[in-house]
Symmetry: C2
Subunit: 343 residues, 2 copies
């Protein structure tokens, strides 16, 4: 019951500047904090009860002074910014939209985007278009996630020298650029495959990053077929957007486009094999995110489910690796890598 209020009470302490003030000044009373952030001390005191309860802050009863607990006292500024960007994404993109979660589940559409922004479609379309509020909340969070996951992905995935690589649903080309940079070899060529309207920004990004000789773009819809002639297909942060039948269509399309021995490398959030594992908050977060806020459908699966689906679509799985959440402080959910070869 108290999930929404706990969330917003914490974020409001960040938004008001209470946390910054305490990190800067060390110890402050409610009266000093109220003056510093432009709020009534009574209200500051009410908000800070929870932060004391959860040991985010500590309270010196004798002096009436608050000071940072271990988390806010110790976290470096960039890491704190990443946490706050995640909280802000949840607030801006999700908090109001999930009011309509039941309607979204029933209709298979993102009812919240329609009701709140007058937008019919999915979050990615809305954020790519005129809805700057959504883009500005979503993009920094996603950049942070990519920044965490990309080095890990490339430390686990091998692209043979001189490969022709297809980055499926590669958006505006950044995935292709990073693929080239992380695997540069004579003859390596990376092609972004996405909807035709992504071509111009992709080509511009290739030029801006000086990789226009090694990267190119093919426009199309993955559900109409996957381009042929590639040795390796990458599917990053994409399968979790779709229901089972669509994932099978995508994987079947990739299988049909590859020659025997051709490879697919997948990056996707995964639920833990033991759903009750308290270390993962994936099932706490993603169903509402995908069903209610972004797609009106989809959601991640367990690694074993993706493995089974790959095999159903004619692949031999050669490697699976899941992130270890115990080594990732603050991360909500582990991503997984699945590498497979066309049988």
């Amino acid at each position: 019951m108290v999930g929404p209020t706990r969330f917003m009470t914490l974020l409001t302490c960040c938004e008001l500047g209470v946390i910054d003030a305490l990190r800067k000044n060390g110890r402050m009373t409610a009266a000093e904090l109220g003056e510093a952030v432009g709020a009534k001390p009574d209200a500051v005191e009410q908000l800070l009860f929870l932060l004391v309860k959860e040991d985010f802050l500590r309270y010196d009863e004798e002096a009436g002074a608050y000071f940072p607990g271990p988390f806010f006292g110790g976290i470096p500024e960039p890491a704190l910014q990443h946490v706050v960007s995640f909280l802000n994404m949840i607030k801006v993109v999700m908090l109001r939209q999930i009011f309509y979660l039941t309607e979204s589940v029933k209709t298979g559409t993102v009812v919240g985007l329609d009701k709140l922004f007058g937008f019919q479609g999915n979050l990615y379309e809305a954020a790519a278009g005129e809805h700057t509020e959504l883009r500005e909340a979503w993009a920094p969070m996603m950049d942070g996630v990519t920044g965490q996951n990309d080095p890990w992905f490339w430390s686990n995935v091998d692209i043979p020298a001189g490969s022709k690589v297809l980055d499926l649903a590669g958006n505006t080309g950044f995935g292709a650029i990073l693929t080239y940079r992380n695997n540069a070899s004579p003859g390596l060529h990376v092609t972004t495959f996405d909807l035709p309207e992504k071509e111009a920004p992709s080509l511009e990004n290739f030029r801006a990053h000086g990789v226009e000789e090694h990267c190119s773009f093919i426009g199309g819809d993955v559900f109409d077929g996957v381009p042929k002639g590639f040795d390796v297909v990458l599917i990053k942060n994409f399968l979790d957007m779709w229901d089972r039948e669509d994932v099978l269509r995508i994987l079947t399309g990739v299988n049909e486009a590859l020659e025997p021995g051709g490879r697919v490398n997948i990056l996707v959030p995964v639920y833990p094999e033991d759903i009750k594992d308290p270390a993962s908050a994936g099932v706490d977060f993603f169903p509402a995110y995908f069903l209610g806020c972004t797609m009106g459908k989809g959601g991640p699966q367990k690694m074993s489910t993706y493995r089974r689906w790959l095999e159903e679509c004619g692949f031999t799985v050669t490697k699976t690796v899941a992130q270890d959440l115990s080594t990732m402080p603050g991360a909500l959910v582990a991503h997984g890598i699945l590498c497979a070869t066309k049988a």
Copy 2:
């Protein structure tokens, strides 16, 4: 981070009818549930991961069937309805409004009511007026809370026979009616004191309940003074709406209106003396409720704080009693009773 999503995922399973279907039918697959509630089985499966994680439901992997866990399997229908009415209040009254919590704290007004409903004022005014959506979500929850607290209050509070009782901020007279019924004695008279616009509905309620000879109404604003001539003043579910300075004005006004030896009996939610007590979710819930959704200010205090404020205002505290949350399954926060006498 996952508070809002956990909350709405659970409530959506109730709203869709998944819980009702499983309580009625015992065991169902995602496909059967999808058909029963009019949603895609893939989406049902995504939502139910969390309910399995938290043991609200259980999953028979071999049969692919879900069935109720101990909570949903055991809770009687009326108790379940009360829980769902609380979840629904949080959704309708709070989930969208707390988006504006920071702005509400800064301005001391309920910015969410203005932004979402075009209403300037507090929740109680909005719900009493044209905003039926808010009233219909708030009133059943509040009725349930009153139903839980009223017998407990009267088992702890003694009204001397023949007293003249003032029910401070008594709204439309129901508190006066219950006070009379629970304490009927020759000469007992209970007066509701509230804003003048509550007079007509109060008198109508007194007549409808046949207590018009024992109950009456005085119109006025507690901050302009409290009527004199009463032996006992009741202050129920009211002090928690105000900041310290306002609580002190209310208590001082009551003290000035009473003769020495006159009594005040207070019912109010209280935070635990040890704020870190995990059994109470008061500080998790009320700051966002009062600051962001109802008043733009206020919030409960610890029993010891109310006791100190009563003493500051010229009272001798004769009794304090707090609810024991361990005996109240499902309750978020303990209420307290404070009885005091004018010194």
